[in-house]
Amino acid sequence: MLNVAIKKQFASNGRASFALDAAFTANQGITVLFGASGSGKTTTLRSIAGMVTPDEGRISLGDAVYFDSVARVNLAMQKRRVGFVFQDYLLFPHLTATENVAYGAKARHDQHRRQHVDDLLKLVGVDYAAGRRPAELSGGEQQRVALARALASDPAILLLDEPLSAVDVTTRSRLLDEIVEVQRKTAIPFLYVTHSPADAVRIGDSLLVMAEGSIVQEGKPLEVFNAPLNVPAARVVGTENVLVGRVAGHQPEEGISIVELGACRMVIPYSHLAEGSRVTLGIRAEDIIISRERVSRTSARNLLAGNVRHLLRDGESIELVADCGVDLKVRITPQAEHALELAPGVEIYLLIKASSCHILS
């Protein structure tokens, strides 16, 4: 288990100063560190790797203490066994794909080492390009090699800093699945930094939301996205509800497709996705209508019954979280809150147009 509790003050050169004050734990599986740019995600990651020294605090992974300001411990990068994957790959340009991976491999018997490197290249699916230099590899291939290289050093944890932001959309989708697969096969905990909600929901086993240098909420990705607990978290995760489900059927003549989301079914505009395929839906909080009565004969194709979970006031608007089997955020005005007498526990109905449900990449 990774334990982090660190503080670092950054000098203010004219601009407002930035303070990192992050405390969290990360367990097995993929933990996503989510936040806007400038929220301190990368600094946190670099502190764990040993590239940045915090002012105070403690970082440990299992029994290994990486940093402890009280005990004056600051383990050298080389001794931390932390793999790091950068956004721009940073493959050594003078080495081939194989040589890059072999560079990371622990010095063992030559033949074992070669086998180990071959296995890793196969694991990430670039064994066909083993002899190529980075300049002859596509972005996706380079990121796969970078992943294999980081794994070659037998890390105790792998840190990935926005690893997919430089690859194209189609490759990105494939790589996300591959990263999950690699994590499951290697059983090394991954800490994955991203600012993409779709990516976070798709690969995260747990989610940490970071805002202005602190962790403002943690939990299961979908719960966090659709039921932020506080205003900073609500601001970071945005006004989009993110839902993961499966395509349950199509009615092309009616212009709709059906998506199953756990307990409920959602009608969305007709899509060509294959039946049974996984799909991530986005519904903006301001596109959802709340009614206190069950409405019939409406053009909104989705009518969900539920309860108010909680209300968060942020400036002139209110973010209401409704529990309808799945959690959904709804953005309303204070006037609507008063007129409908909305309070935690109150029974409500949500009306959502099919066209308000869009498929996230």
Binding site: A49, G50, M51, A76, M77, Q78, K79, R80, R81, V82, G83, F84, F86, L90, F92, P93, H94, Y103, G104, K106, R133, A135, E136, R149, A150, A152, S153
Partner: protein, 220 residues
Amino acid sequence: MTWSAFKLSLLVVSVATVAVTLAGTALAFVLARREFRGKEALDSLVTLPMVLPPTVTGYYLILVLGRQGLLGKYLFALTGWTVAFTWEAAAIAAGVMALPLMVKSARAALESIDRRYELVSFSLGKSELETFFRVTLPLASRGILAGVVLSFARALGEFGATLMLAGNIRGKTQTMPLAIYEAFISGEDQKAQLMAVILTLTSIAVIYLTNVLSRPPKAA
């Protein structure tokens, strides 16, 4: 005179170039990668021979290395040997004059490398030394090689500082540039011409090499 001067030049320049390559790269690494007090002062000191008249540099070298010099007196007391008027003096003078070019090229090459390559190497468990030889040096190799070639050329043409520290002793400290001067002064025009041509051809080869080395590698 021509042949012995050529041989001596070759010896002096080879020794100077090897020494400057090693010392210059190490100095450049320290200047490019470390923060310490007096860093800019060190940079200025190393660069000084590039802007000073060579005879002034030679004069300072005598003050430091001469028999009564700052360091030279200890050397003489300990070994009874002094560097002045030996071929080693010519090599030292050539080396000191070439060092700024080496340091400038190597520092620029090292500073142009993304530091994160080194961080990746550290995170893969590699020591600083192993990282330097397997990552930093290969990535900076073109710039460093360009520095080596420039240093070689500077050392080959060295005149003023050499004359001050090593003198102009035929067969002992008389390198090609000094020999050309002497041949010309004593009216041996043909000899001077021959040696000038040899040095010119060498310099053209050096310019060509530098250009090839400083060109970025072609993508395959």
